[in-house]
């Protein structure tokens, strides 16, 4: 079964097309990386998949149901690029944020998620008092608390240092492999996608490439698009990852 189906999706802001005629499907349990340059429509695509924006043309389905009829949002976890409220003044604790929206995983469920992300000791602290890395782990805990079947990350590591970023991505791979959770990761860093994802969707307002890394590495068309050096670098990082243990 597919976790996500996007068919001929088009979306414009004030008459300017941000994405055009996008079609692809993501099978359950897949780790899909979405990459593309700035302004290529990555975030617009994600917002259409999540129902934040309404498709102007085309359709989006989650778990076989068109978005208009989809109500099982506890099956989906989302970690946005930026949270407006994450300033020093928002008076909520880590625990309140993880349980946001009336989620009730029980004390044991909450403790398990907080401990797995190493933030159990911060549960009573205010979110504004934490470092960016700790805030990001809190937001990841919120996304994971319902044990979602589909996890969507929109450039989640923009402000993280390289070490924390690697820990974060390793964790997403672990979640994908251990729980068979479908992961969609958006980043402008194709090197990162090469290391962690099984499939690649390269976007520049339209689909430039969609397929597995093996297909990407064999594609003459992509050699022409990226240049041999860049394509080789992405493929090399993907090959390295396969040998790396979790």
């Amino acid at each position: 079964m597919n976790a996500v189906d996007v068919n001929h999706l088009t979306f414009s802001y004030n008459g300017l097309e941000a994405i055009s005629d996008i079609s692809f499907s993501v099978r359950q349990g897949t780790y899909l990386g979405i990459a593309g340059p700035n302004g290529s429509g990555k975030s617009t695509l994600i917002k259409n998949i999540l129902g934040i924006l309404r498709p102007q043309r085309g359709t989006v389905s989650l778990f076989g149901r068109r978005l208009d009829w989809f109500h099982q949002w506890d099956r989906v976890g989302y970690l946005p690029q930026r949270i407006a409220a994450l300033d020093h003044h928002f008076p909520a604790t880590v625990e309140e944020i993880v349980l946001m929206g009336g989620v009730n995983p029980g004390r044991a469920g909450l403790a398990h998620v907080l401990e797995s992300l190493k933030i159990a000791h911060l549960s009573r602290r205010l979110i504004g008092e934490l470092s960016y890395g700790q805030q990001q782990r809190t937001m990841l805990a919120r996304a994971l608390i319902n044990r979602p079947e589909l996890l969507i990350f929109d450039e989640p590591t923009t402000a993280l240092d390289p070490e924390t970023r690697d820990i974060f991505y390793s964790l997403t791979r672990k979640i994908n492999q251990e729980n068979n959770t479908t992961v969609i990761l958006v980043t402008h860093d194709t090197g990162i996608i090469g290391q962690y994802a099984q499939q690649l969707l390269y976007l520049d307002k339209r689909v430039i490439f969609f397929g597995t890394f093996e297909e990407f590495c064999r594609s003459q068309e992509m050699t022409g698009f990226f240049g041999m050096g860049s394509q080789h670098l992405i493929c090399h990082q993907h090959d390295e990852k396969k040998e790396k243990p979790l």
Binding site: L50, H71, V76, A85, P91, A92, T93, G101, G102
Partner: protein
């Protein structure tokens, strides 16, 4: 006359009770508005109330029913602010500014058309809690119950939307319905707050108690409770102080809220210094 004797008068009891109910309701809503950077919605709605009062007076509606008569106009304006806020090219503060300017402009034009009624309008500008009618007291009680029930019932949704509206939508929250409820309740609270503090100070009732509470908060729920406590305390102490010193009640309540905020900020500074 001893100060305590004043509270034997029915109109003073009515004023105190209505003041507590309105301030408590406003402070509950204020937490969500301040955190969503919609603090000035009180100002905007107060200006619309000014225009609406002018319309109502021009229509010759009895002063006893002015509060009730302006409600529909202010509710519509509140929903207009909400719709403009969600328009792609208008920020929340600008949306409030648009509706606020419209309210003031309409009020000024209508005042000039209704020569002789300016005195009535001025009484709304500065408010007079001691003139609260039995009907207004009932309305205040109903609005407080409605606000408290909505905050309890919709708490998970309100919290999520206040934290991040887009994120709330990905959790399946019906953000449009919750926003409409919040904006309508704010409109009603603003009209009633006009009675305590006057149009000029309505936003103070929505902003100051939550702002003071946020400085001390250890969690979101505690912020809501502290905001409620500060608002009730400021009305009771403000009325006592106003009677004792023969000062205007509305202004004294607001001034006390500001003192509370300054004290809390001072405590915070002291804490940071001693850490």
């Amino acid at each position: 006359m001893p100060l305590s004797d004043l509270f034997h008068y029915e109109f003073v009891q009515r004023a105190l009770l209505a003041g507590v109910l309105i301030a408590a309701g406003s402070s509950l809503l204020g937490v969500f508005l301040v955190l969503r950077r919609l603090s000035l919605i009180g100002d905007g709605l107060a200006h619309v109330t000014f225009g609406s009062v002018a319309v109502v007076i021009l229509l010759g509606i009895s002063p006893a029913y002015v509060t009730l008569a302006v409600l529909p106009l202010v509710i519509v304006s509140s929903v207009v602010i909400m719709k403009l806020t969600h328009a792609q090219r208008i920020h929340g503060d600008a949306a409030i500014g648009v509706v606020s300017s419209f309210g003031i402009a309409a009020g000024i034009i209508l005042i000039s058309l209704s020569k002789g009624y300016n005195v009535d309008l001025l009484s709304y500008l500065f408010g007079n809690i001691l003139t609260v009618t039995q009907m207004e007291l009932m309305l205040s009680a109903m609005v407080f119950v409605l606000v408290a029930a909505s905050v309890i019932w919709f708490y998970p949704d309100l919290f999520a939307i206040t934290f991040d509206e887009e994120l709330a939508r990905t959790m399946g929250k019906k953000t449009e319905i919750i926003n409409t409820v919040l904006f309508i309740l704010t409109a009603i609270a603003a009209v009633l707050a006009m009675k305590i503090a006057g149009i000029m100070l309505v936003s103070a009732m929505l902003i100051l108690p939550p702002l003071a509470a946020m400085q001390l908060s250890a969690s979101f729920k505690k912020t809501i409770l502290a905001s409620l406590l500060f608002s009730i305390l400021s009305v009771i102490c403000g009325m006592l102080l106003a009677f004792g010193l023969n000062l205007p009640v509305g202004g004294t309540i607001v001034m006390l809220n500001i003192v509370l905020l300054l004290v809390v900020l001072g405590i915070q500074k002291l804490r940071a210094f001693t850490r």
